[in-house]
């Protein structure tokens, strides 16, 4: 069993609250329209797409924050498509998620120590204090930050706490959902380098969701391109950049403004 994730014909529809009539129920909107792919152990895969492509929904389905309405997701051989919360709990440690907005994903009333340590306690880890220290070391934050609250950190530091919380659980898989899109280029580069190094050092399997192909290129061995809830391309990143097969991928690539006045837009 080499594939950590096996996703086949994944479908998901959500209630469309924007079209909800004043009284009554909202119509359902199909977000994911039958996706199939696998993620081998140890691979870093990029998931890219525009707004409304369904990339974040796919991520949330993979870590089972959302329940798919069709198809299946297997994680390490276990079918997790419709598992209930109790059955999922022992598995939860093994797939972790880093969120886009660290301000809303870190409980404003908990200290950094508690944010990283409480999930560990929940899963019966021993030596929690030492593990929290080590996680902070890993992400390059001073140990003295343990006493701080999220609002006392900068954006880049908060995102590091999010990463520390995920890796402290010693997971097999991490899902990173647009984790650098809110950051300035300088902290963006720092966080990306950190993630790259952690993947190498800890042997993680990583899915990296982004709207930005340039970021994907640096980090990911393989790239899945989503468009309107369907996979339009799923290939090694180098191939994809050298010769994009799908028209949408080509458009996407050409539209990226390079920091180079030599690039000409027709």
């Amino acid at each position: 069993m080499d594939d950590l994730y096996q996703v086949s014909d994944l479908r998901l529809s959500l209630a469309d609250m924007t079209a909800k009539p004043l009284f009554g129920t909202a119509p359902r909107l199909e977000i994911l329209k039958g996706l199939s792919f696998t993620i081998p152990k140890g691979e870093v895969v990029g998931i890219v797409g525009g707004s409304g492509s369904g990339k974040s929904t796919l991520g949330r389905a993979m870590v089972r924050l959302l329940e798919p309405s069709g198809g299946s997701i297997r994680f390490a051989g276990t079918d997790i498509t419709h598992l209930d919360e109790t059955a999922l709990r022992p598995l939860r440690r093994r797939f972790q998620m880093i969120f886009q907005d660290p301000m809303s994903s870190l409980n404003p009333r908990h200290t950094v120590n508690r944010l990283i340590g409480a999930p560990l306690a929940l899963h019966g880890f021993d030596g929690i204090a030492a593990r929290v220290d080590r996680a902070l070391d890993h992400v390059g934050l001073p140990r003295s930050f343990k006493a701080r609250f999220p609002h006392e950190l900068s954006g880049g530091q908060r995102q590091r706490v999010g990463i520390a919380r995920a890796i402290a659980m010693e997971p097999e898989f991490i899902l990173a959902d647009e984790i650098v899109s809110g950051l300035d280029v300088s902290s963006q580069a720092q966080v990306l380098n950190l993630l790259e190094q952690l993947v190498r050092d800890l042997g993680l399997t990583l899915a990296f969701i982004s709207h930005d192909l340039s970021v994907i290129r640096r980090l990911c061995a393989r790239t899945i391109v989503l468009h309107h809830g369907e996979i339009v391309e799923n290939r090694p990143t180098a191939d994809l950049f050298a010769a994009p097969a799908a028209a949408y991928t080509r458009d996407l690539l050409e539209a990226i403004p390079l920091p180079d006045p030599g690039q000409v837009w027709d």
């Binding site: 280029v185 300088s186 580069a189 380098n193 709207h211 930005d212 403004p257 920091p259 180079d260 006045p261």
Partner: protein
């Protein structure tokens, strides 16, 4: 001959006196496209806001002046200043989703400036609006003018805002991160549109952005800011061939470039940040005497 000149502009936060802009000097020629670049907190959008007279209440002008076509805006009475700005300058805002009033139809949101401030008659203003909508490639302009903002997509709304900015044939347009909220494919179309319109109308453009890639596509000249101070001024050609200031160099190195697969990104080194910060502090000390 520059028709917009910002001279030694300094801004502070009212009350605690924290500096937002430190003696910024800037000159824009008619028809020029000038990029204002910097990371968050660099004060780049504050310059545009100061020019357009829409600074937040908590910010005060602590020095310098803004001259638009020979008129020092600071010397004009408030109502007159608003009228001058309304007639000569315009804004393309960042977020097309919040920049159109959801309870008013599109048409009046384009024509209101022409009718109320410039005194055009309504029929002429509406004809002008329809022409502009056609110019920004909106199909069925007459129908769009009767719709409400929520009936249009994000890209369409940004086109409406561009049309609206050009309505009064302003001499200067400030574009404040106009494509940050859009997908890259839409961004490309919008950037090209802004550039086309600017060339056709001969308008000067002050383009505020954090994205060096966008600057290289749109601007002729650029000004790099750090902590409210100008770090570097250059033509786009010279800058991307090799920035003069170490901070600009570091910023360029930290910008991802997908055509360059092996080169890993270099975060802005701490030493560079410390050096540029020291420069800024030195400026402050010189100013405080």
């Amino acid at each position: 001959m520059s028709f917009l000149s910002v001279e030694n502009l300094s801004l502070r936060i009212r009350g605690d006196g924290a500096r937002l802009l430190r003696s910024v000097t800037l000159a824009v020629r008619p028809g020029e496209v000038m990029g204002l670049v910097g990371e968050s907190g660099a004060g780049k959008s504050m310059i545009g806001k100061a020019i357009l007279g829409i600074l937040p209440r908590a910010v005060e002008l602590s020095g310098g002046r803004i001259v638009l076509e020979g008129q020092d805006l600071g010397t004009l009475p408030a109502a007159e200043r608003r009228r001058v700005i309304g007639a000569k300058a315009a804004l393309i805002p960042q977020d097309p989703l919040t920049a159109l009033n959801p309870s008013r139809r599109i048409g009046p949101q384009i024509t209101d400036r022409l009718v109320d401030i410039l005194g055009w008659d309504r029929a002429r203003a509406e004809a002008r609006a329809a022409d502009l909508l056609a110019e920004v490639q909106i199909p069925q302009p007459a129908r769009v003018m009767r719709s409400y903002p929520h009936e249009l997509s994000g890209g369409m709304r940004q086109r409406v805002l561009i049309a609206s900015a050009f309505a009064a044939e302003p001499k200067l347009i400030v574009a404040d991160e106009p494509t940050t909220a859009l997908d890259v494919t839409v961004q490309k179309q919008i950037l090209r549109l802004i550039r086309q319109m600017q060339e056709r109308h001969g308008t000067a453009l002050l383009f505020v952005t954090h994205d060096l890639g966008v600057v290289s596509k749109v601007c002729q000249n650029l000004t790099v800011l750090y902590a409210g101070a100008v770090v570097e001024r250059a033509t786009v050609g010279a800058f991307f061939a090799g920035p003069a200031h170490p901070y600009s160099r570091a910023l360029l190195a930290a910008t991802p470039k997908y055509t360059d697969p092996t080169g890993s990104l270099t975060p802005v080194p701490e030493a560079v940040v410390a050096a540029v910060r020291a420069e800024v502090v030195a400026m402050d000390e010189a100013e405080d005497g």
